[in-house]
Subunit: 217 residues, 2 copies
DNA sequence: CCCTTTCTGTCAATCTTTTAACACTATCAT
DNA sequence: ATGATAGTGTTAAAAGATTGACAGAAAGGG
């Protein structure tokens, strides 16, 4: 009965990049684009773009290409950016504060409504008008406000427990910045960040490049 | 003449995770582990672990498994963590400051030696003993200190120009946090972060989950 | 010292992802 | 109108990644 679903994560993870490029095209008043031209800008194959988009239906038109504004909006819908997501930050340290200051999340429908910490020196503070609350009131807050997403920017020692609690209180997604892998019931989606992994990968690439450097063609 | 190189990025990007798990095993005084047991902890297949490690040579022993400390050290070497990398941060805003406070980079051989900004109010400040310098002196600094890696945490307007300059001044790697894709000569390695992509992917997963939820199996 | 068990390295099979090819449709200039 | 060009959706082929299977080496117990 269910229609052909099951889109691979590889595809999904490319959508935000398409979305970003299309946003830039809109800013530059470009209203139509072909897969070929987009592929040149993005340094991917045109085939991949067409293949990816076709997972969700025919957005383009032969002989014309894609309407930029329409495609941008459609990808936004696929990603769920047409809905508002209520977010909180757990851990008002440096990273938490940095993320609280990101303006651009708001534009995509991600609305920060509270920040929580254990540190009495931070509680009561406000960041961009958002208050830092005592973590003791988080349960009540999450349940009453029906928070959708929590950004976890706290010490790794407490992350697992906090994540489990949030899951129980009905949170739908966790954006986890601590170096711990979280395994939660499947009604809670998790996206782990692991900043340090990127840095290590970079170190590898640097080493590898310097080894390859003086190799013949 | 060159030996069997060409290891896929898919493999490389898993190494930091192995490295982290092995580090935790060391902390727990576990000195040997089999691919099967590690696979259970990491929720991957044992076959994948063996296949991945074998790209770099035989680290294990039949009937025994892997020596945790040795394997940890070897993966560290593969990633280039046995070398010290001199780093700078360009952009002393919230994110720059947050990253400057990350203690754990130091442990992996990443040594922050300077922070740069245009804002006179920030210049002269120090973060964890690291000074914030005027961006005008960056060229001299990068050349004299032979900086390896720059973390780019600045407004996207100036990123491309800064990246090109740094490339010219001999930097080896860029860890780019701005929502811009950088294309540079191949002696400069780039690792883009795009935090917002993760958040959008999370939004997709939440939406997808709520759709799938009440499907019969 | 020998037998059983464990567990690797590796080869082969399967599954997934990417790229190429092309039939066919809309556009656009004349 | 019409022919040439542009450009999609889609199918098929190629490339890449993951998993399974197993021969045989080392470990460990009696």
């Amino acid at each position: 009965m269910s229609e052909e679903r099951k889109i691979s994560m590889a595809v999904i993870r490319r959508l935000p990049r398409y979305y970003r490029y299309l946003g830039e095209l809109i800013d530059n008043d470009i209203s139509r684009i072909s897969s070929r031209e987009l592929s040149e800008r993005m340094k991917v194959t045109a085939s991949q773009i067409r293949q990816d988009l076709n997972n969700f239906g025919g957005f383009g038109q032969q002989g014309y290409g894609y309407n930029v504004e329409y495609l941008h909006a459609e990808i936004g819908k696929i990603l769920g950016l047409d809905k508002t997501h209520k977010m909180i930050i757990v851990g008002a340290g440096n990273l938490g504060q940095a993320l609280a200051n990101y303006q651009s999340f708001e534009k995509r429908g991600f609305k920060l409504i509270g920040i929580f910490d254990v540190n009495p020196r931070l509680i009561g503070m406000t960041i961009r008008g958002i208050e830092v609350y005592d973590i003791d009131v988080m349960e009540k807050f999450v349940k009453e406000q029906e928070v959708d997403i929590a950004m976890l920017t706290m010490p790794k020692e407490n992350v697992r427990e906090t994540a489990n609690n949030l899951a129980e209180w009905g949170i739908k997604g966790l954006w986890n910045f601590s170096p711990v892998d979280l395994y939660l019931p499947k009604h809670v989606q998790v996206e782990n960040v692991h900043l340090s992994h990127g840095l290590m990968t970079l170190a590898y690439k640097i080493k590898d490049q310097s080894l390859t450097e003086n190799e013949e063609d």
